[in-house]
Symmetry: C2
Subunit: 368 residues, 2 copies
């Protein structure tokens, strides 16, 4: 089981910077959590530094140490993960630690909000991507053979289960209702999304009629079998059309639910719409544990230079709090970030500015 | 074997409109081919109408009739395919006819040029996507089981072979050289792509180390084992990053080569950059046969209303000619289309205009 919080509101967070700019943005997120104003109901944080990553693999032969998993399970209520580098050639024995973490902790939904900040000059959108996080091609069942002509033939298994599809679908419909409720608190004129809540199912069942067929029917079934979701609209998009439509009419989407790989691709696409991958957070959510994770990679080209945008990691810390039940503190973080973006003065190079990681972090902390 | 052209330059083209707006854009492409000025070296066309599609399946129980395949093989030098509708629910026995056509005629590369037209207000880019066209998840080997709890679990096989990867890689490097040669004919100041020719390999080998690892190493090997490609630069992008980078810096790409599904997704994304899927053509190319095919779908919502943009299909007819060796006639078509787009007066609703399919087609024909 996972460690549970005590009455004292003590919350232990595992920090896993991993590679590259992960080592800059995770400390930034920590600073923001520590700068939250203290109240009786707010959490008192303790942080544990934990190892993982490709560089760790190169030094110690393991990308996700047993100890990291054990301490997450035994001592932490949640974690923040930085980013991993990908080897530029096949490296025997190496396997992505974030994919392993999702699997070992059964973090079955990857929740990725992509929203523009009013007044920031970004394209207007407010989308929540729910990415199934445990199967599809990410099960990594692969093998290689040699054919009759001595040429290689490689195979990978793609798995889509009713069980995982339903969990992802439930998360999507629940989040659609939750977002609708939150929206009702803001004046109608300021709402980006005006209609009924909506879930858009992504698939490619015109080619993958059995696997994506099961995905699509199962997610549809979540709504059809539950009267609580009667007020949520449902539609669908083929993954290729989705990438097209998202760029043409991003305002047409509310909650989007996708199998693992499509969700990976779509969330990077959505990040381009808000101007930078450095802005987009995610939470890997399970029934008992949450790992916040910026959507960006380890960016070795800019690592160690204070050029990394810390906002994705900071917002991921907000998502972590939100999914741990501290939505008030999460809101504070989101609003502080939005304030900095709206003002538009202090920004890292990915947004066309010259500020450092530290300067952006300090600016967010000042607004908490 | 395939039918070969006679000395009289007679070329027989199979026309397969299939579903929805396919029935409007294929006749438009035919009209353009028939309007090409006749010279001694230009082809004399004969057209054969052939059936396929979801609507044909609904009426006759077969999506790609044997007769269509037999006549393509026996009587045609090339074909134009319109678009297929996707059933909105699983339909027993139905399988996409375009996927089947690619497989049966061994059309192993799907060539998709996406380029802006100077002076048309489009984002500046000039990209050629080479999509492997025969394997990956498109082999459609799927099955479904029931687990111990009575829940369904579905599986699909993803195949990546050295054989198919090499053919796609060769096509990519050859096209890079060809494009470089064509560029040398236009004044440097008018060239969108200024550097050495470049091939960008798309993969996701950080997760799919065996299948995408084989893809990546095989395509890299095409360059490394052939001195003819020494002058072609090579780089790579993870598929998720590619969707992001493509939107941020589309001018950074020359030739892009991708496994089947990634290529499908990326080409729809690229279409959004030039303003409409209604502009993007493709050619399904094999060693003995070519099928031109607009990248867009059957668009049932606008079918039969003269609203469809015929340009993707018209450009696909150009690609068909180009890959059949009639590059002069192909250029005429491309230039006529570019002229219409640059002028910007006559355009269908997808581009913000009010012209009909017929009006756009006539405008192109007038400029041939
Ligand atoms: C690093 C990689 C394995 C990972 C993924 O594909 O899931 C990343 O792209 C992400 O989106 O979190
Ligand atoms: C209709 C569909 C099967 C097809 C594909 O996925 O290849 C289409 O999207 C395309 O790009 O030609």
């Amino acid at each position: 089981g996972f460690a549970t919080a005590t009455q004292s509101n003590k919350v232990t967070i595992g920090l896993i910077p991993a590679d590259g700019i992960g080592r800059e943005v995770i400390p930034a997120a920590r600073q923001v959590l520590e700068s939250l104003p203290k109240s009786e109901t707010s959490p008192r944080f303790e942080f544990i530094h934990l190892d993982a990553g490709f560089e760790h693999f190169q030094k110690h032969g393991v990308a996700l140490p047993e100890e990291t998993l054990a301490r997450l399970r035994g001592e932490c209520q949640g974690a923040l993960f930085g980013a991993v580098s990908s080897p530029s050639h096949k490296v025997a024995g190496y396997s992505s630690p974030i994919v392993a973490l999702r699997k070992h902790l059964d973090l079955y939904a990857n929740v990725r909000p992509v929203a523009s900040v009013a007044g920031s000059g970004q394209k207007q959108l407010d989308m929540l991507i729910i990415r199934e996080n445990t199967e599809c091609l990410y099960i990594k069942q692969e093998r290689i053979e040699t054919d009759a002509n001595g040429l290689k033939v490689a195979w990978a298994d793609r798995k889509i289960s009713e069980y995982a599809s339903r969990r992802a679908g439930l998360m999507a419909f629940n989040m659609a209702l939750m977002r609708d409720k939150l929206r009702s608190n803001i004046p109608a004129s300021e709402r980006l999304w005006q209609g009924k809540p909506k879930v858009t199912i992504i698939h490619k069942s015109n080619v993958l009629s059995i696997t994506d067929g099961l995905w699509r029917e199962t997610v549809r079934g979540v709504k059809e079998s539950n009267p609580a979701y009667a007020g949520v609209d449902m539609d669908e998009q083929l993954v290729d059309s989705m990438v097209y439509r998202m760029f043409r009419e991003p305002e047409a989407f509310d909650v989007v639910v996708a199998p693992n790989l499509y969700g990976d691709i779509i969330s990077d696409g959505a990040a381009a719409l808000v101007g930078s991958l450095g802005l987009v957070p995610s939470a890997n959510v399970g029934d008992n544990f949450v790992v916040g994770e910026p959507v960006h990679g380890s960016a070795p080209d800019i690592a160690g230079q204070q050029k990394a945008n810390p906002i994705a990691a900071i917002r991921s810390a907000g998502l972590l709090l939100e999914h741990m039940g501290y939505s008030g503190d999460a809101s504070r973080i989101y609003q502080a970030v939005d304030g900095v973006l709206r003002e538009g003065q202090i920004k890292t190079p990915d947004l066309g500015g010259k500020s450092t990681t530290q300067e952006v972090t300090d600016a967010v902390c000042k607004r908490l």
